[in-house]
């Protein structure tokens, strides 16, 4: 039982990690391409990351 939960948690973390990496990486690319839009990109990035985080945490707690 506990092991299954841990496997699930691991899967969630992997998924969230991939997602956060995508968000961060694309945001960096965007900032590199348009440094003057850095502020806006950062805000959008944080919001999306927060949404993803909420999803991941929700899943983690559902499994706990």
């Amino acid at each position: 039982m506990v092991t299954y939960n841990l496997i699930g948690a691991g899967l969630i973390v992997i998924g969230a990690g991939i997602g956060l990496g995508q968000i961060g990486g694309k945001a960096m690319e965007g900032i590199a391409r348009q440094p003057e839009a850095a502020g806006k990109i950062q805000t959008a990035m944080i919001i999306i990351a927060a949404l993803l985080e909420g999803l991941a945490f929700g899943a983690l707690f559902l499994g706990k």
Binding site: T43, I46, I47, A50, L51, E53, G54, L55, F57, G58, L60, F61
Partner: protein
């Protein structure tokens, strides 16, 4: 003016001094010594228990505890009042009556009711029971949870930070009466207020409506931020890591954006224009679940989980000092623990701000969605 300034300064200093140099309110409990070596935390399981205990709310404000030469366990801190709503009405007593016991062995009798504290929760024992009986998973079998309105550590922290915020910001407000530019601490607070107004409220809610919600957003922002930071001090607050508190904050945001939503917002929620009629009820269900459950749930869980996780990580890293003592030696384990916890603490300071920012930002975003006026047809 001068007097008010001095009062604020004085109170702030007193509050800080109270928690850093506290040496009074010593009370000992020799009756219950659950562990053989005087309640010291040494092993891995003990550390785990200690951390889990910390994450929960507690009914007394204990700063640290030690075992004196006589083998007595001493707790430094002060008790907080317990207020319970029970079958017999309101019951109040000081938490010191539990003698820092947390596993249900100390029974407090009030108004003919018996109370036991088990894992930071106060249970009301059944009428005929004299001791708490536990099942295999350490759940009490002969006791019910009470409706606990106590001034717990979290409530105490909430009150404290609330009073501090009121003092700081009303002082800033008073400063504007006499001069255009604040001085002293107000100079730190003003840009923060401007930041929340110009970077969070205005762009997300829109020029037309942001004024109505700025007060709420500012309160929430500073409340969360200051409490997050207070949680990183050795005072041991974990207010924003209490799911009840974050749920309360999320509920406020939910109520605000639900009740300030305009016709268009509800139209898009319940009967989405521009999609085939067949899909509209399905979309309505999805939208309603999203707006009423997922949004507030993500708000409350995010804050709670981030702060709890931060506390767990910091405390675990501090606990390296004890758990790795054998393999690394005292100096090695202490050094490793100090370095690691220092860097995590720095990250946590960032997280403290970030979570306050994200909570406020998402609240503003949700409110903005509810009050936005779409000019274009979808």
């Amino acid at each position: 003016m001068k007097v008010a300034q001095k009062t604020v300064k004085f109170l702030t200093t007193v509050v800080i001094a109270l928690f850093t140099t506290i040496g009074f309110a010593l009370d000992s409990d020799t009756k219950y010594d659950s562990s053989n070596d005087g309640g010291r935390v040494n092993t891995k399981t003990e550390v785990e228990e200690y951390i889990l205990h910390h994450l929960k709310d507690s009914h007394d404000f204990s700063l640290w505890s030690y075992t004196n030469d006589d083998g007595e366990r001493k707790h430094v801190g002060f008790p907080l009042p317990v207020i319970l709503w029970t079958s017999e009405g309101l019951v109040t007593f000081m938490s010191s009556e539990f003698h820092h016991n947390d596993d249900g062995h100390v029974i407090v009798e009030k108004k003919g009711l018996k109370f036991a504290k088990i894992h930071s929760k106060i249970y009301e024992l059944d009428k005929d029971a004299t001791v708490a009986v536990f099942d295999k998973e350490h759940h009490a079998t002969n006791a019910q949870k009470t409706f606990d309105l106590s001034i717990t550590k979290s409530v105490f922290g909430l009150l404290l930070i609330g009073v501090l915020m009121l003092l700081w910001f009303s002082k800033l407000a008073r400063q504007y009466k006499t001069k255009k530019i604040p001085t002293g601490f107000g100079r730190v607070l003003e840009p923060l207020v401007l930041y929340v107004r110009d970077e969070i409220a205005r762009p997300n809610i829109g020029e037309k409506h942001y004024r109505r919600f700025t007060g709420y957003l500012l309160t929430v922002f500073f409340f969360i931020w200051i409490l997050n930071l207070a949680g990183l001090t050795p005072l041991g607050f974990n207010v924003t890591g209490q799911i009840a508190v974050t749920a309360c904050l999320a509920a406020f945001t939910l109520v605000i954006y639900t009740f300030s939503g305009n016709k268009e917002y509800w139209m898009h929620m319940i009967w989405m224009p521009g999609v085939p009629v067949l899909f509209r009820p399905i979309l309505a269900v999805i939208e309603l679940i999203g707006a009423l459950i997922i949004k507030p749930f993500s708000l409350l869980v995010r804050l709670f989980a981030n702060i709890s996780a931060g506390h767990i990580v910091i405390m675990s890293l501090i606990a390296i000092m004890f758990t790795l003592k054998e393999s690394l030696g005292v100096v090695g384990a202490t050094g490793l623990s100090l370095v690691l916890s220092f860097f995590i603490l720095l990250i946590e300071i960032l997280v403290a701000f970030l979570q306050a920012y994200i909570f406020t930002m998402l609240s503003a975003l949700f409110i903005g969605m509810a009050v936005a006026e779409h000019s274009e047809a979808h």
